[in-house]
Amino acid sequence: MRLEPKPAPSFAATLAYPLAAIAATVLIASLLVLAAGASPFSVFYLVAKGAAGSQFALLETLTRATPLIFTGLAVAVAFRAKLWNIGAEAQLYIGAVVTVVLGTGALPLPAGLLIPIIMLAAMAAGALLLAGPALLKTRFGVDEVVTTLLLNFIVLLFVSMLLEGPLKDPMGLGWPQSSKVVADAQLPRIIQGKRLHFGFVIAVAAAVVAWVIMKKTVLGYEMRAVGHNPEAARFAGIPVNRVLMKTALLSGGLAALAGFSEVSGLKGNLTLDLSPGFGYSGIVVAMLAMLNPLGVVASAIFVAGIFVGADAMSRAAGVPSYIADVMVATALLSMVTAILFSRYRVRWR
């Protein structure tokens, strides 16, 4: 079996392949639902209803999408330059740690000043966390997949240590959690009394900024050139290592904003279960968006919707909510396969 490259696909084909991917996802998920002893139609209906069937559901989906937009953007910009940042989870937690350290009364400033300062500090921390692996990659050729992935565990243990020690809430009845951030360090809610907060607005703005950087600026051009062909980029005089470093700073900063926004906008304090793998889901979100920053917003809402909808469906239909993980994973695999088929033709033998 071999793959032969195809000429540029037609417009119809570029639409047909993703649709086929969605159809394949639905089909595979249906088989699993059948195996669980439920009707696929009612399950999909319940998922859709749980994700977008009411104002509450819709707002919940957008709330869940917010950190996914940040981590998805972090992955999208890094992968564009073929910097394989698998460590968005760690960068998210570092951003959250900085938010808690600065936001629990250390800086007596008004909200208008305090929130931007915390945001910038969180971004700086996430950027620095990815700068290490990027430096090791550019200087010594150390594989960043390994270093960023392993940093996730190191940082999670570090956070665990902080929550048992210096950052432990004295009023927390012994639970490993931090104190709440002060009111001036909290992002306001978009609708009074609902969970959706201004982190979502910041996330969408970040997507627009990332899109402008990738499409319109010198840096974005350099990042794409380095990602597509580092050797040709170096030959043409593009400073490849410096571009990879800038990419790392941008990507780490974006991922850290996820941690900032979850603490400052939603949870108020830091716990070890702040992120149910938002950093890893960011990879799925970015790939589904084909690394397009604006596409990341849409795919983050899609992925969040499946998770939120599956929770609701699980309560009603008795199918485990793990079906959401399976559906997202299947969607990713079908999408990647569809992209492959849109570029190559398969020849048997």
């Binding site: 032969e4 000429p7 010198v218 062909n229 040709a232 170096r234 030959f235 005089g237």
Partner: protein
């Protein structure tokens, strides 16, 4: 007696027809030359014959039996052997192991070395293919490796031998030895298909010439009754005229290397105590067999490599902080050897590719933002001025043909009117029209006073264009010679590493 018959072979890759209804016969004891430009379909045809590809139409008969398509094992069993352009030897194993590899039954735990050794020595004495069976392949020269490849085919009782561009990597002396071997093989009843785009080799070695042009059989000639001129015309479909070289006065020294050595890096030779000066208004040709230090020298000038010792001067001034950027800022234009891997970024557009060396300066860049309008305008200008055939400036550059890609690289390099031009294999793999175009542009640069270094493995190209010729061998440079001072034979001797005896 016909040993091989191809009937109506057609192979398509998407809209591209690589082979279009090709039929021919090969007789016992005959050498057929398959002549054509790169991209004419020679290699595709041979890959079909050898079972790497499956033809869309047509069939192949070997010794009267229909050959199963798409099965290299069937081809081997039918007695077809192939010597690829890029050798397929295991470096870490001995010559004997390489030759016997894959011929022994899987169930026999040990290789019968004495039997294999006897057969190999028999074959090498029969056909003048001297090799040391116990030598490690890593220690062999390119010519010796090729002999191992041929022995490998003969060891499997090949009766039909296909050689794909066998002389591309050989010195003139090694080429002569190869031709003697081929004569012996033919005398012993083997049949040979010899693939080449070099006319003089085809004339020297073949009985019959098949000329391929853009996938079709453009003509068939008996070698004894044709001329190089006729073959060249068949090959390109038009008369070929050599470039006219006008006299240009030599100017000041623009670039100089003084006793430069480079550190050993990966494969290929490194430079050893090299001195070379490029003057305004001249083309210096660097001849040599590939892998003798050309890559290091080109890297040095292009800025991708730094000297380990010695001095590098641009317009008499010592350069420091050397990098591709620095080389560009010093007015050095670079045409890289590998236009796909180094010269272009295949998945980016024509526009994005042509600004790659200048995107940080006006008019393309304003405060960190790219001016895509200016970039597109520039790309359109190059497409027009350099006669590039491409659907639009937004097309991915990967979709262009080699010649059009090279024209864009030339345009990108030469548009700023550089003082120094490094052209590394600028015409390799291009059709004759594009070759003439590239040569014309290099001569234009020379005419307006640029210093040009032309690196090429094609001696005819070097001799036709160069005002001075230096030969590189094992990382050392010969003394330069002026136009017509050395014969091709003398240059070939230098390429083989024989130093000149002081007369």
């Amino acid at each position: 007696m016909t040993v091989l018959r191809l009937s109506g072979i057609t192979k398509r890759f998407g809209p591209l027809v690589a082979n279009d209804d090709i039929s021919f016969d090969l007789k016992k004891g005959e050498v057929i030359a398959l002549l054509g430009e790169n991209g004419a379909g020679k290699t595709t045809l041979m890959n079909i014959l050898f079972g790497h590809y499956v033809a869309d139409e047509g069939n192949i008969e070997a010794f009267g039996q229909l050959l199963a398509p798409g099965d290299p094992k069937a081809a081997l069993a039918a007695g077809i052997g192939m010597v690829h352009q890029h050798f397929t030897l295991a470096d870490n194993m001995s010559v004997l192991e390489n030759i016997a590899l894959g011929t022994e039954s899987l169930w026999r735990p040990r290789l019968d070395r004495s039997l294999a050794r006897r057969r190999i020595s028999q074959l090498s004495s029969d056909f003048g293919l001297a090799v040391e069976p116990d030598a490690s392949v890593a220690s062999l020269s390119v010519g010796e490796r090729q002999r191992v490849e041929i022995l490998k085919a003969l060891y499997r009782d090949a009766r039909i031998l296909i050689l794909d561009e066998p002389t591309a990597v050989l010195t003139p002396a090694e080429t002569d030895a190869l031709f003697r071997t081929l004569k012996m093989l033919v005398a012993n009843g083997l049949s040979i298909i010899f693939i080449s785009h070099k006319l003089h080799e085809v004339m020297a070695v073949s009985d019959r010439v098949l000329v391929l042009r853009s996938g079709r059989l453009a003509g068939e000639r008996t070698t004894a009754r044709t001329t190089r001129r006729e073959l060249a015309t068949l090959m390109v479909g038009q008369e070929v005229t050599p470039p006219k070289v006008a006299g240009v006065a030599r100017g000041e020294a623009l670039f100089a290397l003084e006793r430069v050595s480079t550190a050993p890096l990966g494969s290929g030779a490194f430079l050893h105590d090299v001195s070379l000066t490029l003057f305004a208004g001249e083309i210096v040709g660097l001849a040599g067999v590939s892998g003798n230090g050309q890559a290091a020298l080109a890297g040095l000038i292009a800025g991708t490599e730094n000297p380990a010792s010695g001095k590098m001067l641009v317009r008499g001034k010592l350069v420091g902080g050397w990098s591709p950027r620095a080389a560009l800022d010093h007015g050095i234009a670079r045409i890289p050897e590998d236009r796909h891997a180094v010269g272009t970024i295949g998945d980016m557009s024509v526009t994005e590719n042509v600004i790659a060396e200048r995107y940080r300066s006006s008019p393309f860049c304003r405060r960190g933002f790219l001016d895509w309008k200016a970039a597109k305008h520039f790309a359109e200008g190059l497409i027009r001025d350099y006669d590039v055939k491409c659907p639009s400036p937004e097309a991915r550059i990967r979709l262009l043909s080699g010649g059009n890609m090279q024209k864009l690289i030339l345009g990108r390099a030469l548009d700023p009117e550089p003082a120094i031009v490094l052209a590394n294999q600028p015409a390799r793999g291009l059709d004759v029209g594009a070759v003439a175009y590239v040569h014309g542009k290099l001569l234009d640069a020379r005419a307006r006073g640029a210093a040009v270094l032309l690196i090429s493995e094609d001696l005819e190209e070097i001799v036709a264009l160069s005002d001075r010729i230096v030969v590189i061998s094992k990382g050392r440079l010969s003394a330069p010679s002026g136009r017509g001072e050395r014969t091709i034979g003398e240059i070939g001797e230098l390429m083989a590493g024989h130093s000149e005896v002081a007369a």
